[in-house]
């Protein structure tokens, strides 16, 4: 017996992603991986998974997924407007995002539109039963590898689940939305800041840049004031001997407009990189939409590392602080007890009954 989620209607660009395919950049293999590691991490934690479990990265509009399993617990994270459809003629019932849900066989999850972010995440408890490629399930669609058949999802795809039914347990939600931070994107100068004039560096740090329409998993092209190179471009001022490209590297080709390179970036490149976005702010980059504006502020490597450690600690606190969630249309028992609104009433939620393990549930294939 197998279990799966069937794509009955595809969204715009969903791919499976984990935290990336590391270890093969020397062979020209991009890391890929989640554009917003915090969103994926929270979705996995809501579903009860380890942080590096592959989840569905949703872009712009999510799919409709039919549950072909006894039950499945999902974690949904991001500014989504999901809904649950109970049967062929049933009206969609709205669901909350930033929490887990228990779905039953025959129900359809309509992931819906994302508002205000370019990415959102869906994790399933136990993960997907798909083969890793070079140690990772991250989809790199340009080479057709990883994830589900190396590509974005299409109608008719059946995503196999690693567990036949959801493990017992309460549904949980974020106590409050995670604070991704605001203000300028923090950057560290280099590796090739010396390829730019003082004026060019000042332009970069003092100007506002707008996300262009050319923004995808590979990178974001920004529009704004052009950044001056130190030497004339026609004399090699925008050419380096190709070197490695780190996540968040900001390359500035001869035209002078910055391009931030992200998850699906190529491993090496020959344009000078004025600065690199600190890892603490990579998840913010992974959520940017065309038309949004950003500024950049320079910090040191030490400061960037400290900010990242602080963010990781906040993420772990957010996960430890998950609260029990009310089932859709049901009652938040935990909150009622906490608030002493009921006393001595024997009350069993039908949702909790159905989440108890039966013989098949909770076992791995």
């Amino acid at each position: 017996m197998s279990a799966g989620l069937k794509v009955v209607r595809a969204g715009l660009f969903e791919t499976l992603q984990d935290l990336g395919r590391t270890g093969f950049m020397a062979l020209g293999m991009p890391t890929a991986g989640a554009m917003d590691r915090i969103g994926l991490g929270l979705a996995n934690a809501l579903a009860g998974n380890p942080a590096n479990t592959a989840g569905l990265e949703i872009g712009v509009m999510g799919p409709d997924l039919l549950v072909e399993a006894d039950s499945v617990r999902i974690g949904l994270v991001g500014p989504l407007s999901p809904a649950l459809i109970d049967g062929p003629d049933a009206a969609p019932k709205p669901l909350d995002s930033d929490r887990s849900h228990l779905l039953k066989r025959g129900q359809i999850l309509r992931v819906g539109m994302i508002e205000g972010s370019s990415t959102a995440y869906l994790a399933v408890a136990g993960g997907f039963d798909l083969p890793a490629f070079m140690g990772s399930l991250s989809t790199y669609s340009r080479a057709g590898i990883g994830g589900f058949d190396g590509r974005k999802l299409a109608a008719g795809d059946l995503l196999p689940l690693a567990t036949l039914g959801a493990p017992a347990g309460n549904e949980r939600r974020l106590a409050q939305p995670f604070d991704y931070g605001s203000g300028p994107l923090r950057v560290v100068w280099g590796p090739q800041d010396d390829y730019f004039s003082d004026e060019g560096r000042r332009t970069f740090i003092e100007s506002e840049y707008r996300v262009s329409k050319e923004a995808d998993r590979m990178g974001i092209r920004f529009e704004g004031p052009t950044i001056a190179h130190a030497r004339p471009v026609d004399q090699g001022g925008a050419d380096i001997i190709s070197d490695g490209i780190a996540p968040g590297a900001i390359q500035v080709p001869g035209a002078g407009l910055p391009i931030v390179l992200l998850a699906d970036r190529q491993t090496v490149g020959g344009y000078p990189k004025i600065a690199t976005v600190a890892s603490v702010d990579l998840p913010r980059l992974g959520r940017l939409l065309p038309g949004q504006t950003v500024r950049f502020a320079a910090i040191t490597v030490d400061e960037a590392e400290a900010l990242r450690r602080d963010q990781e600690a906040r993420l772990q606190r957010a996960i430890a602080g998950f609260v029990v969630a009310r089932p859709p249309g049901g009652i938040d028992l935990a909150r009622l007890y906490e608030e002493n609104l009921i006393d001595g009433v024997v009350f069993e939620s039908p949702w909790n009954v159905t989440s108890k393990p039966s013989s098949a549930e909770g076992s791995t294939k």
Binding site: I241, G244, A246, Q266
Partner: protein, 245 residues
Amino acid sequence: MSVRYLSCGDTAFTVEFGNEISPEINGRVMALHAAIGLAREAGEISGVIETVPTMRSLMVTYDPLSTSRADLQPRVDALIARGLPADATSRRVTVPCCYDDPEFAPDLAEVAKRTNKTPEEVIAAHLASPFKVYVLGFMPGLAYVAGLDQALFLPRRSQPRVRVPRSSVAIAMDMTTIYPFESPGGWHLIGRTPLWMFDKRREQPVFLSPGDSLSFERIDRGSFDRIAGEVEAGTFDWSSLVKSK
């Protein structure tokens, strides 16, 4: 020879050995690549995720949650100070190539004309070139292989092709390459190998590695078709092409 450390944010830094392309500098890059790998296996360095060798520098990526630049850089410095072996090249790879079919070598005649050679002389020079794989990048498995006979140096085509077939063997500047996928490309196509530089069905999907010594072996169309069939079927014995030094 001095070394520069370039910041790549808080998850990587680049160790730059020089600002030119030379076998000596690349030898040091590959040696540090190997030395860090050994130090990781020996437990002398932790928190490094991977190292990315290029012509004249090595990018070291790390996890800022388990180490720091301040901790790692002195350890890398110590490895360099300990002395890097002159040449870390470990493999000698042979790539069969068919130059004879006009479909495979649409630019052979033009290359011959522009280098004042006959097509046979171009092929002979390509076969005799002492090639070395310097960098893989741009797409998985695409290798920049330098060492081309100086007599064949040409700039890239002024008009790049929209579609270059997979496994095309091409030259430009001082390099040769083999296209791992059908893709756009501006290099001169002088032959084709029946091998796939990237085959996701293989345990090691990427055939070439940085540091490989590489030479081409001329095959006729019949051999090409036979090997191509075996590669396609997944029965080809790739190990016959690789010798350890």
